[in-house]
Symmetry: C2
Subunit: 436 residues, 2 copies
């Protein structure tokens, strides 16, 4: 049975439900969905090298986490319940100062394991030692867009170093020649990167036709500070620097005004909602989803890093998004279940450029099966409602990425070794930080 | 191995962590914790009839859900994303009109199964056909306080019928003589029960020394309507009718003012927070936890029913509570993890009168083991943070109630039969409703 993992075979998933209908899914040996429909199993049974018994599970496209800091799994539970400034300056930054590439490798492997176990097949990552993150993603079989968090704080010397670090990462990732792993430019935020730094990132990303990953207007303070410093809101600064493109993912976006939402739509920027993190750190305002939607902007979903969430479960995040939007904007009809699922699949795929985020012939076989034989999925009046409001990622049984099986009946190869390696890396990191 | 379920034996749980320390737990044949501490396994190994290998799991007291409508599991996903009034009048009430006692039996069994699988060992329930709910709870091995939802809408004839229904249920539950199942009076809410009805419930509950379970100030409209009708806020009306007692659990409490929080503390009322439901139905305000805490009131946690949440996972609810409090009241230090865990355990135990909600010698052995061998619990910098912010109920491996094993390594006897029975009941219910 071990043979089925991490390989491309002609594969048949027989007897699942997709969009409420009973279907079978045939996957070709290139890892692409060859056919999907009721009863297609009869056509492909002979051709398929493996048949996965779907057992009436609900099939959906792999979820796509469009904003995280994967290796921060190592900091899970290290510091909570603090004000943002104390949390960063007293706990997170001092620990991060001791991070090594090997830590990032183990933290990212743990993150990928957690994502696979909860049905995520692609993510958008910003952190340090990203060559090691790439090494981790390579072993785990999922898809990622990786960027180095570029922070110059207005210092020209630091800026030079950040430009070189960005160039090195992009060149390294290109050299891997792994279609599952893509580079992006990662200007951290308008308040941590100078106009010169932002402009360099925008031009560099355009030149290499790669994505841009940035934090935008997470807190009101950022907006006020930008107005005091530049006499402009942050989004205007970003636009002047060329950061707002159809290759750009802007995380948080809690404090966008209506004009900024329209500009996002016009420029084709993808806005990544991070509801759990925003609630935990008390941003005081939820992303204005209804304005972005009305403007026609693409809105995606992300968990943020594990020190402010504290997990990578996109099922929990779909629920948090839908509930927070309803609550904050005072409308129980806002962000219904099918829109939350769209955010976490097709909208995310569009943002990261990984396929269509749908289950259809010709799409990469990034497929998640959610068991129907568990309480969260009984009764099955409405599968989409159950996925968004009732089930957590623990209901995911089987995960494929590019047609390769990454998890089967909740088994992921090497799970206990990954957990032990990450546990050890986290313990050593804290030990090193305590010694100084 | 099947022998271990549902029976009282002298039992040893060897090698778990409680409050961050490695301990063993000995449970006597009365289902009471006989001893807990490091290395006590050597003392009790001979006496114990079964030894459960704790495998370094995190042990915690069984979670206590202080506000739900258990049988509404049958309506999970039946109607979402609607305004409260449309949702109730177009979807929920028309379906509930067709409910039978057998439906409530299956819905409550499904609810108990879901609670066991997510680490809840006691709940506070309000619904109809509660004799059938009692029958379900009896078979499942967990603890419940059950009340009939008393609604008279000011109609004296209806009130008489509700009084008789309440009397019948209380008398029936007393006749069961099952210490796990207790009755309560269940005046639905100040806006659905007349002053006469409220007063009758208060006097009846006092006479029988039983609990009172009521919805209080969930929406602003209720508060405004009460002021228009009675020239008083709802809590003042409840106090005049004798409803505010140390045996009273008041659900929601979103719109309490500071004086009302102080009155709750003075009267000993237990306030049950229902954050997911409040967000989903857009109550526009979160329970003022900081005022209740400052006043010294007991604050507990509940999931509400599955048509407005849509699950019964108290781990998710702890996270929702902590995040909503931080976000709404704009303070990331509010409701830290250890207070959320207290709400879901000891505070709930105090409200329902089931033991202490702690792991200590002499307490009933209501014990939950959360695996350490899963991503949500790695690394283990802070077990309480992981329980509240990272893990869902799916990380629960083993559950005991009164010393009886209800789940072992995620196995619950008859799980698939219960799921199938509930699925069938839900499908038939919808079919009957469609035919009229």
């Amino acid at each position: 049975m071990n043979d089925i993992f991490f390989k491309n075979y002609p594969l048949l998933i027989a007897g699942v439900k997709a969009d409420g209908k009973p279907v079978d899914i045939f996957i070709d040996e290139q890892g692409v969905i060859g056919d999907i429909g009721e009863g297609v199993r009869t056509q492909y049974a002979a051709e398929a090298e493996f048949i996965i018994d779907g057992d009436d599970a609900v099939a959906l496209p792999g979820l796509i986490n469009t904003h995280t800091h994967a290796a921060m799994t190592l900091l899970r539970g290290y510091a909570d319940d603090m004000s943002l400034q104390d949390w960063l300056s007293q706990k997170i930054w001092p620990l991060e100062a001791h991070l090594t590439g090997d830590d990032v490798y183990w933290g990212t492997r743990l993150a990928c394991l957690e994502m696979i176990k909860t049905g995520t097949t692609a993510f958008n990552d910003m952190y340090f030692f990203m060559e090691d993150a790439a090494r981790a993603v390579d072993t785990m079989g999922i898809k990622a867009v990786l960027c180095y968090g570029f922070i110059d704080l207005g210092d020209p010397e630091k800026r030079e170093a950040e430009c070189r670090a960005t160039e090195r990462l992009v060149s390294h990732i290109k050299s891997l020649n792994n279609p599952r792993i893509r580079p992006a430019a990662g200007p951290h935020a308008p308040y941590t990167v100078s106009r010169e730094g932002l402009t360099w990132c925008a031009e560099f990303a355009a030149e290499h036709t790669i994505g841009i990953h940035i934090h935008v207007s997470e807190t009101e303070k950022e907006v006020n500070d930008s107005r005091a410093m530049h006499n402009k809101r942050p989004v205007a600064v970003l636009d002047e620097c060329g950061i707002l493109t159809p290759r750009t993912v802007a995380a948080h976006c809690c404090w966008l005004d209506e004009d900024e939402c329209r500009l996002f739509a016009k420029r084709g920027v993808h806005a990544a909602h991070n509801p759990s993190s925003n609630m935990k750190l008390a941003t005081r305002r939820a992303m204005p989803y209804h304005w972005l939607k009305a403007a026609g902007a693409n809105v995606t979903l992300g968990t943020d890093g594990c020190s402010s969430n504290n997990n990578l479960d996109m099922f929990e995040e779909m629920k948090a998004a839908s509930l927070l939007q309803k609550f904050f904007w005072n409308d129980p009809t806002l962000l219904p279940a099918h829109e939350a699922l769209y955010m976490a699949t097709a909208a995310g795929a569009k943002a990261l450029g990984f396929g269509t985020g749908t289950l259809s012939a010709g799409a990469p076989a990034d497929i998640v099966l959610v068991t129907a034989r568990t309480a969260c999925n009984v009764p099955l009046h409405n599968p989409t409602s159950n996925l968004v409001y009732s089930c957590s990622g623990a209901a995911v049984e089987t995960v494929l990425c590019n047609g390769k099986v990454l998890m089967l009946e909740r088994e992921v190869p090497d799970e206990q070794e990954i957990l032990a390696g990450a546990q050890k890396a986290a313990a050593n990191l804290v030990k090193r930080a305590m010694q100084t």
